[in-house]
C-alpha cells in the first residue's frame, strides 16, 4: 500500500490569497495540497506532514480564522482566503511570543516539537472562540492533534495558562 501520485497535467489555476498578512498570488495545480504550497512554494516549513491523511493534525493552519488541515485542502479552493501559519502567528507578535507559545515552552507542552506548530494553532483557534476554555473543551478541541511525546497533560496546562495570562492582561 502506498500513497499514489498520478501523471502530471499542465492545468494551472490562478489563486490569490492572504498568507500571514501578505497578499500572494500563484498559478498552481488546483489539486496541489495547501500543505505543499506552503512548505515548498512559500518555504513555510513550520507546517508539517505527519501522515498526509488528516489524522495527525501536524499540518494544521488557520483558514479564514478557522482550524483546518492543510494536507486535505486543494489549492483550487483557496482563492480569496486568509491563511495563518505558525510563522504568521509568530510574526504577529510585536514583542516576544504569543501567550500560548510562551506557555507551551514553560509548561512542558513541547518535547520533540513536531506536533507543536499544529497544536499551537489549534489552541490559538480555540482561544479565539473560547477565551476561557474548560479542560474538557481543551481536550476535545485538541483531539485532532496527535502528540506522542507529552501525553497531553502539559499541553492542557499550557492552554489554561495562556487563557489566564490573557485574562490578566485584559482585566
Amino acid at each position: 500500500m502506498r500513497w499514489q501520485t498520478g501523471p502530471a497535467h499542465e492545468l494551472r489555476v490562478r489563486i490569490e490569497l492572504t498568507l500571514n498578512g501578505l497578499r500572494v498570488g500563484a498559478d498552481v495545480d488546483p489539486l496541489r495540497r495547501l500543505l505543499d504550497f506552503l512548505r515548498e512554494d512559500r518555504g513555510l516549513t513550520g507546517v508539517k506532514e505527519g501522515c498526509g491523511e488528516g489524522e495527525c493534525g501536524s499540518c494544521s493552519v488557520l483558514v479564514d480564522g478557522v482550524l483546518a488541515l492543510s494536507c486535505l485542502i486543494p489549492m483550487g479552493q483557496m482563492h480569496g482566503t486568509t491563511v495563518l501559519t505558525i510563522e504568521g502567528l509568530t510574526a504577529e507578535q510585536t514583542e516576544g511570543l504569543s501567550a500560548i507559545q510562551e506557555a507551551m515552552v514553560a509548561a512542558g507542552g513541547i518535547q520533540c516539537g513536531i506536533c507543536t506548530p499544529g497544536i499551537v494553532l489549534a489552541a490559538h483557534a480555540l482561544l479565539l472562540v473560547r477565551p476561557q476554555p474548560t479542560v474538557d473543551e481543551i481536550r476535545n478541541a485538541l483531539a485532532g492533534n496527535l502528540c506522542r511525546c507529552t501525553g497531553y497533560t502539559a499541553i492542557q496546562r499550557a492552554v489554561l495558562q495562556a487563557a489566564r495570562a490573557h485574562q490578566e492582561n485584559h482585566a
Binding site: W3, T45, E53, Q111, I114, R139
Partner: protein, 731 residues
C-alpha cells in the same frame, strides 16, 4: 543551582515558532528524491528485476545490491541483515531497489514500473510455526523444583503482548550528500549518530571519519530511530554516491509503519509457587519473543526481558528461560522499555491472579514479597542503597487513595448494571543504562570545551529527541561548574565535532552521559585550579578570568572523559548474575478505569505514577517523560493493535492504528521520590522507560478487578474485553 529547577527549555523557542529544521525541511542544491522498491512477498528468492518500457530509466538513478562498494550488511550486533536484497528475501517490504530523481511524480511512476520476479517460498508467519531460534538465555537461581514443591498452590498463566508501532509523529528520513573525495555527510532524523557512522563506513568501504553524521531536529524516536536509521542513511548514501548528488529519502506514514521496526511481540508463561500465607516460593517463566526476520537488537531485548521478569520481589527460586524466534515479519527492534514492558506486563498481571488464587489482596501479596534493603534481586544484585521499595508502593497507594477507591469501585459496581469501575496496581523497576557489561563495551566518551571567554561547550553524541537532553545536560554542567546556563553551549550533534557517547537510548542519557559530563566538569575545574589560578570557591568572574588566563598560557582546553564502571560486583554475562545495571528506577503505578460492559470500551479515568529516580534534574521535563510514557502505555494496553496479514501490517495508517488523543487521556498524577544514586550525576538515575513498564499491567489489573475477568493479553481491545466477559465462569 540549576539542577532541580525548571529552567527554560533550550530547544523551546525554535520548536514553538516553527523554526526547528527537521529532515524534510532541509533541501540543498541539486537534491534528488529517493524511493525504495520493496519485496511484495514475505519469503522467496529474487530471480531478476524487470524495468518497464517507456520510462526514462537513463535519467533515473538505480541502485541494487550490486552497486554496494563495501559490504552489503548492516553493522549492528550481527552482520546478517543486508541493506539491499541480493537473492534471499526474508520479509515483506525488504528493500531491493533504490531509485532517485528530481521529480517526485516520475519517481513514483518509476517505483510502480519495477517488477521484482521472485520465486516464492513458504513464510513463517506465526511463533508456533517458527523452527528457527535466534538465541536463548536462561536466568536461574536456587531450585525451581524445590520451590514449587514447597508451595501450597501453584498458579499458571500465559500472557501475550502484541507488536507496538512507535508512531513518532515525524516519519523517518535521511539526506545524504556525497563529497568529491568519496566521503558522505548524512543529515537526518536519528537517535544514534555513532551507529550510523560505522554502518556506513562498512557499507561504502570508507574510513569512519569520511562518514559525517549530523542530527537534524528529530520528531520523536522512542527506539524506532535507534537502529533503523542506519538503513535509510545507507540507502540515501548509496544513491548519493552513485548519482554524485545529494539525495533525500523521507518515508510517508504508510511506508514507515509497514517497513520499519516494532516492539517484539511476546508470549510468556508463568508457573508460580506460593504459600497460603502469601510467600512466593518459585518463579518459573518461559519467555518467547518474535524477532522478525533478522536479529537486529534481539539479544539485548531478551536479556532485559529476562532480568526484569522477576520484578521488585524476593524470589528464593527462579528459572526464567527466554528465546527469540525468527519469523518472516519485518524485523522487530528497539522500543522504549526494550523487553521489560513485555515481561513486567506478564508478571504483574500474573501476580494479581496468584493473589486471587489464595484469596489474598493483590497489594498485600506484593507487600509480603517486596525486596527489602538487604535482599538481592534474581541476578543477585543489591537494592540501590537507601531505596525503600515498600515506601514507593505505599506512596502510590496513599496518593491514589487506593484502599478507599477500591471500596468505592466495588460499591459502585454493585449498584451499576452496565458500567463497571476498577482500580489496579503494578509494582516494578527499570534498570537504567545498558544491560550488564554493555556500558563497558560502549566505552562512551563525553567532554567539555572551554572558550577563552569562559563559555563551555558540551561535547556528546547524545541527541535531543524531545526528552530534553540538551537542557538537562546543560543543567548538569552549569551546576557542576557554578556557571549560569547562558554560559553553557550545546554543540551541534555532528560526528565531526562530538565524541561517541553511545546511543541515545536505554534511559542512559541523563545518568551515564550526564555523569560523564559532571566528571568532565570536575576535571575542568581541577585543571583551572592547578594551572590557571582558579580559586577553590569561585565566582563567575573568577571562572572567566581563569579561562582567559588558561587560553593565554596554554591554548585551547578540551576535557574528555571516558566511561568507568562504578564500584560494584560486576556482571557475568554467561551465568547472568551480578549487577545488571548501575541503578534501577523503582515504581508503583495505579490506574482507575471505567468499563462499559455493553461495548467493552475502557476509559482510564485516573492515573497515579510514583517512581524513585535518584534525583530529578528538571521537574517539568521529568514529569513530561512520565506523562508521555503513560500515554504510550495506555495505547499499548488498550488501542494499539498491529493487524498482520500475509506478513505485513495491514493497518498502516493513523486512521486504523489507534494511539491516544487528548480526549482519551486522564490527568496523570506524577510523583517523584529521590534517593540519590552515588554514581549518578547529582544522584540522578534514568527514568524515561519506566512508564512503558507499569502502565499496561496497572490498567489490565484494573479491568480484571472491575469485571472479574482474566484478561491476559494486550491490547485489551473492546472485542477482547467483551469476549473475556463472556468467558467468565457463570457468565
Amino acid at each position: 543551582m540549576s539542577v532541580g529547577a525548571n529552567v527554560p527549555r533550550r530547544d523551546g523557542f525554535d520548536k514553538v515558532t516553527g523554526r526547528a529544521r527537521y529532515v524534510d525541511d532541509l533541501t540543498c542544491e541539486g537534491m534528488l528524491h529517493g524511493r525504495t522498491v520493496r519485496s511484495p512477498i514475505p519469503r522467496g528468492r529474487l530471480e531478476r528485476i524487470e524495468y518497464e518500457n517507456g520510462l526514462p530509466w537513463d535519467e533515473i538513478i538505480v541502485v541494487t545490491a550490486a552497486d554496494v562498494p563495501g559490504t552489503n550488511r548492516v553493522k549492528l550486533i550481527d552482520l546478517e541483515q543486508p541493506f539491499l536484497v541480493e537473492q534471499e528475501i526474508r520479509h515483506r517490504e525488504e528493500p531491493v531497489v533504490l531509485l532517485a530523481h528530481e521529480d517526485r511524480d516520475l519517481l513514483a511512476r518509476a517505483v510502480r514500473g519495477i517488477r521484482l520476479v521472485i520465486s516464492a517460498e513458504t513464510p513463517v508467519l506465526s511463533l508456533e510455526h517458527s523452527r528457527t531460534e535466534f538465541l536463548a538465555r536462561t536466568l536461574e537461581k536456587g531450585s525451581v523444583e524445590a520451590g514449587l514443591a514447597e508451595a501450597d498452590v501453584v498458579v499458571e498463566g500465559t500472557y501475550e503482548t502484541g507488536a507496538q508501532e512507535h508512531v513518532y509523529i515525524e516519519p523517518q528520513g535521511m539526506l545524504a550528500e556525497p563529497h568529491p573525495d568519496g566521503g558522505v555527510t548524512i543529515r537526518g532524523s536519528l537517535q544514534c549518530p555513532y551507529y550510523i557512522q560505522p554502518a556506513l563506513a562498512l557499507l561504502l568501504d570508507l574510513s569512519p571519519e569520511r562518514v559525517r553524521v549530523i542530527q537534524a531536529a528529530t520528531g520523536g524516536g522512542f527506539g524506532g530511530k535507534e537502529e533503523y536509521p542506519s538503513i535509510i542513511a545507507g540507502h540515501a548514501a548509496l544513491l548519493a554516491v552513485k548519482s554524485r548528488r545529494p539525495v533525500k529519502i523521507v518515508y510517508d506514514r504508510m511506508e514507515d509503519m509497514t517497513a520499519t521496526t516494532k516492539r517484539h511481540p511476546s508470549r510468556i508463561r508463568h508457573r508460580t509457587g506460593v504459600t497460603r500465607d502469601g510467600r512466593l516460593t518459585a518463579l518459573e517463566t518461559e519467555i518467547v519473543l518474535d524477532g522478525g526476520a533478522y536479529l537486529t537488537l534481539s539479544p539485548v531485548v531478551l536479556s532485559r526481558a529476562l532480568i526484569h521478569a522477576a520484578g521488585p520481589y524476593r524470589w528464593p527460586n527462579v528459572r526464567v528461560k527466554g528465546r527469540v524466534m525468527a519469523t518472516s515479519y519485518p524485523p522487530h527492534g528497539a522500543f522504549r522499555g526494550f523487553g521489560a514492558p513485555q515481561s513486567i506486563f506478564a508478571l504483574e498481571v500474573h501476580l494479581d491472579r496468584v493473589a486471587h488464587a489464595i484469596g489474598l489482596d493483590p497489594i498485600e501479596l506484593r507487600r509480603r514479597n517486596l525486596l527489602r534493603a538487604d535482599d538481592l534481586t534474581a541476578t543477585g544484585q543489591a537494592v540501590d542503597p537507601g531505596v525503600d521499595v515498600g515506601h514507593v508502593v505505599d506512596t502510590a497507594l496513599a496518593e491514589s487513595r487506593y484502599a478507599e477507591r477500591r471500596v468505592a469501585c466495588t460499591a459502585a459496581n454493585r449498584g451499576s448494571l452496565h458500567v463497571k469501575r476498577g482500580i489496579g496496581v503494578a509494582a516494578f523497576m527499570h534498570g537504567a543504562g545498558f544491560t550488564g557489561n554493555g556500558e563497558i563495551a560502549l566505552a562512551s566518551r563525553a567532554g567539555l570545551q572551554l572558550s577563552p571567554d569562559g563559555t563551555v561547550t558540551i561535547l556528546t553524541s547524545s541527541v535531543e529527541i524531545g526528552q530534553g537532553s540538551a537542557t538537562t545536560h546543560a543543567q548538569i554542567v552549569s551546576a557542576t561548574l557554578g556557571l549560569p546556563l547562558a554560559m553553557i553551549v550545546s554543540s551541534a550533534s555532528d560526528t565531526a565535532i562530538v565524541p561517541d557517547s553511545g546511543p541515545t537510548v536505554a534511559s542512559r542519557t541523563a545518568m551515564v552521559v550526564g555523569g560523564l559530563l559532571a566528571r568532565a566538569g570536575r576535571e575542568l575545574l581541577e585543571t583551572l585550579r592547578e594551572q590557571a589560578k582558579l580559586p577553590g570557591s569561585h565566582s563567575v568572574e573568577d571562572f572567566q578570568a581563569a579561562a582567559r588566563r588558561y587560553s593565554v598560557d596554554h591554548g585551547p582546553l578540551t576535557v574528555m572523559v571516558q566511561y568507568q564502571r562504578p564500584p560494584g560486583r560486576g556482571w557475568d554475562d554467561k551465568k547472568f548474575t551480578g549487577d545488571a545495571y548501575a541503578g534501577y528506577g523503582w515504581a508503583c503505578y495505579v490506574a482507575e478505569v471505567v468499563v462499559d460492559t455493553r461495548t467493552g470500551e475502557v476509559t482510564v479515568t485516573d492515573f497515579h505514577a510514583v517512581q524513585e529516580v535518584g534525583r530529578v534534574i528538571h521537574p517539568v521535563i521529568a514529569r513530561g517523560q512520565i506523562e508521555g510514557g503513560v500515554a504510550q502505555g495506555v495505547g499499548f494496553a488498550l488501542y494499539e493493535h498491529v493487524v498482520w496479514e500475509n506478513g505485513i501490517m495491514a493497518n498502516p495508517r493513523l486512521t486504523n492504528y489507534i494511539i491516544p488523543t487528548s480526549a482519551d487521556m486522564p490527568e496523570v498524577h506524577v510523583r517523584f521520590l529521590e534517593v540519590p544514586l552515588t554514581s549518578g550525576p547529582f544522584g540522578a538515575k534514568g527514568l524515561g522507560e519506566l512508564p512503558l513498564d507499569g502502565t499496561a499491567p496497572a490498567i489490565v489489573n484494573a479491568i480484571n478487578m472491575a469485571l472479574g475477568t482474566q484478561i491476559a493479553s494486550i491490547p485489551a481491545l473492546p472485542e477482547v474485553v467483551l469476549d473475556a466477559l463472556a468467558d467468565r465462569p457463570g457468565a
